[in-house]
Amino acid sequence: MTRVERHTYDVVVVGAGGAGLRAAIEAREQGLRTAVICKSLFGKAHTVMAEGGIAASMGNANPHDNWQVHFRDTMRGGKFLNHWRMAELHAKEAPDRVWELETWGALFDRTKDGRISQRNFGGHEYARLAHVGDRTGLELIRTLQQKIVSLQQEDHARCGDYEDRLRVFQECTVTRVLKDEETFRAEGGRGGRVAGVFGYVRESGRFFVIEAPAVVLATGGIGKSFKVTSNSWEYTGDGHALALLAGAPLINMEFVQFHPTGMVWPPSVKGILVTESVRGDGGVLRNSDGKRFMFDYIPDVFKEKYAQSEEEADGWYADPENHRRPPELLPRDEVARAINSEVKAGRGSPHGGVFLDVSTRLPAEEIKRRLPSMHHQFKELADVDITAEPMEVGPTCHYVMGGVDVDPDSAAATGVPGLFAAGEVAGGMHGSNRLGGNSLSDLLVFGRRAGLHAAEYAAELDDDRPRVSAEQVDTAAAEALRPFSVEGGEPGAPGVPAENPYALHQELQQTMNDLVGIIRRAGEMSEALHRLGSLRERSRSAGVEGHRQFNPGWHLAIDLRNMLLVSECVARAALERTESRGGHTRDDYPEMDRRWRKTNLVCELADRSGELAAVDPSAGQIRLSRRDMPPIRGDLLALFEKDELLKYLTDEELGT
C-alpha cells in the first residue's frame, strides 16, 4: 500500500475562495472539525480578482429594491434557465450575508448617512452592488481569512491548539474524491458514499489522504481551458472533474460567460478584466467610427427596459426614476456579442477590440476615486491614462455557468452522498448567463449553505463513518505518478519523446477558443471534439522530468486530465443545444427557442466506474442526456407580467 500522510476530519472543503472559506467557517461554527485545502497560498484565491461588488437588495441606494426585484433580474439575466429555487434563496439571503460580512469587519464604501453604499451594474434594475472601490473581492477574501484567524485564536485560547477545529492545508492539490469501500463495492463500483480526498502537497510532492464523510467542492471555474481568459491559473476545472469522477453529474456546461470587456492590448495581458463598474459609473462603448453602437444591439426581450437614445441614456445616471438604462448595461452576453460583431464588421479598435471611454464622461479626479485599480492597471500594463483617453477592450472567457448538479437548498451533489458543491463549481443558480455582482453573493449564500449541510450530514453519521480502502489510495497514487514513467508515444513504447504538458495545454486552449468560443457552429464543435479526443490520447503520454518537489510541469500534467474532461462537457453540450441563449450563441441557430428553456443538458462520466483508462478514445469520456427542469413555483411566476413570461415560457407551460 502507498505510504501517505493521513488526517481525519469531519468536513473537508476543497478550495479557499469565497465559497470555500464561507463553507469552512460555517462547518467550524457548527462545532465540526474542518479542513480547507487550497492550491495557492491562503488568501490568494481567484475571488480576490472580483472588482465590482456583491449584489444584495439591501435597499440602501434605492428603497424600492427587495428580494423579488433581485430575483426577477437574476432570472431575466439567466434567460429563465436558472434553477428558480436557487435564484430565490440567493435573492432572499444575500443581504444577510453582506451585513454579516460587515460585522466581521469588511470595509465598504458608504452612503452619506454611513450605510453600505450600492452601485449600478449590468442587468440589475436598481443600484445594488455593495462594494469597496474596485477591490471588493480582495476585501471579501481578506475578511473571511481574518475571520478564520480569529476562530483559530479562539480555539487556541480554549484548548491550546490553533488548528484544533479548523486547519488550512495550503499549496495542496486534490486529485480524487475517495469513496466508502463497502457501498462502493455494493453498487458495482458506482455511487457509494464519500469517504475523503486524495491529493499531494505541492512543495514536497508527498501524497496525503484526508478521511472525512463530507466533502465540499468549492474550486471555482474552468477558464484556463480557453486561451483568452480573465481567470487565474487555479481555474483548471478541478472540482468539476472531481465530481464527474466521483459519479456526480454536471449540468449547463454549454453556458460559458465571455465578459465583454477584457484588455486586448498589449498581447501579454490580453484577457485581463476591465470591471463592469466602468460602465456602471458612466463609461460608454464606441466603435472606430466613434459611434456609441450598443443602441443597435438591444434585443427584443429587453426593448422596454433600455434607453433608445443617447440623451435618454445619459439622463439615467442622475435620474434613474425617469429614464431608461443605457444599453451599455445590458447583461454581459448581449454586450460581448455586440462587441464581437463590431470587430468582425471591421469597426474595431487598432488592436482588435472596441473603445471603452470614461475619460470624456467623468472628471479625472472622480475616475481615480471610483476606479483606482483600473487607473493603475492601464497605466502600468498598457501605458494608457484612462482619465485622458479611451481603453481598448474585447470579450474574454470569464465564468462558467455550468457545474455540479446540486440540491438547491442543501448544495448536496446529485447521486453521491456526502458530496457538496458551492460557488462557481455548482450549476443552476445563474441559468444561461450570470449577472455581474451575483457571483460574490452566490458564493456567500451557497458557501454557507454547503458548510451547514455538510456539517449536519457528517454529524448525523455518528459512528457509521465511511472507510477508505487501501486499493483506492494505490490507484489514485498510481494515476498521479503516471507522468513520471511515461516513455512517449503509445504508453510503454520506447524511443518516442514524451509529450510536453505545456504544449498540450496551449493546444487545448487554442482549440476551445477557436472552436467552442463566443460564437459557435456545429461543424467547428464536431472538429473540437475530434481534437479533444486526440489531445486526450496524447495527454496519456504527457511526461515530466525531475522529482516531485515543487514540480510545475507535473502539476500541469495532472491538471490536464481535468481540463480535458471539462472541455469535452462544454463542447458536447454546446453541440447538442440547437438554440442561442445567454452564454451559448449558435451561429447556425441564432434564435432563442422557448422549447429549449426547461431542458438541462446533463453530463456524466461514460465509464461509470470512475476509471478513465477503459474508455474508447474516439467515443469520448462523457455521456450526455437531457432532463426537464422542475416547473417554476406559481408565486414566483406571479412576480412577472404575463407578456414577459411569454417571451421565455411555452404556451403549454403557461397553461394558455
Partner: protein, 257 residues
Amino acid sequence: MSTPTLDKHSAALDAAENTAFEQITITLRVRRFNPEVSDEVTWVDYQLEMDPKERVLDALHKVKWEIDGSLTFRRSCAHGICGSDAMRINGRNRLACKTLLKDINPEKPITVEPIKGMTVLKDLVVDMDPFFQAFRDVMPFLITKGNEPTRERLQSAEDRARFDDTTKCILCAACTSSCPVFWNDGQYFGPAAIVNAHRFIFDSRDEGAEQRLEVLNDKEGVWRCRTTFNCTDACPRGIEVTKAIQEVKRALITRRF
C-alpha cells in the same frame, strides 16, 4: 438583435494580431536553487525573444514553458491583486506581473531572485510561514464588544477614509522583505504586519486597539523601524507604509487613534 455572420478569421482581427508584436532579445538572469540537486545556488542566463511591453512574469513563463519546465515560482492572478509573485528584480522588490520589461532596461541582463530575508525553498519560492505568523500575531480581525447589529454598523465617509490606505494590502511581503531591520532580525514583525494592525487600530468600528498596540509595543514591534522608507518604495499597491508605521508609533505615545 443582429447576428454576426462574417467568418471568424476576419481581416480586422488578423491585422490586429499581426501588428501586435515587436521582438527584442533579452537576457533573463535567474537565481536557481534546487536543494534536491545541490546545496549551491547558481545563476542561469536565458536568452529570450520578447516584446518589451511584456512583463517579467511573461519572461519567466516563457522559460518554464519552452526551456526548463522545472523553473519554480508562485503566481496566481497575474495582474497585481493576489500578491503571489513578489520577487527581487534588478535588486528591487516588485511584482513580476506588474513589471514591464521596457521599464527596467531590457538591454542589460535582468536579474531575478527570491525576496530577501526568508528561507528559499526552491528557485524563487520562499517559506512564507513566518510572514503569515507575524500577520496573525497582530490580531488582524475586528474586535468589538456588545451585541452584533442586525444590519450594518454605520461609518462616516471620513472615518472610513482614515484607514482606506492600509486596507489595500495584498500580503505579498514586498515591504517586509525589503526592510533592512527584518533582514538582520527575522523576529521583527515587519512592515506588513504593522500595516495590517494599522488597518484595525484606525477603524472606527474596532475596540481592540489597546490589545494590538501592546503587541506592537514589544521589543520586536514598531520601535525597531528605522524609517528607511524601503517598504514604501517597495509596495506595489502604493500604500504609504512608513507613514502608517509612524502613525502607530504616535498612537502608542499619545494613546489616541
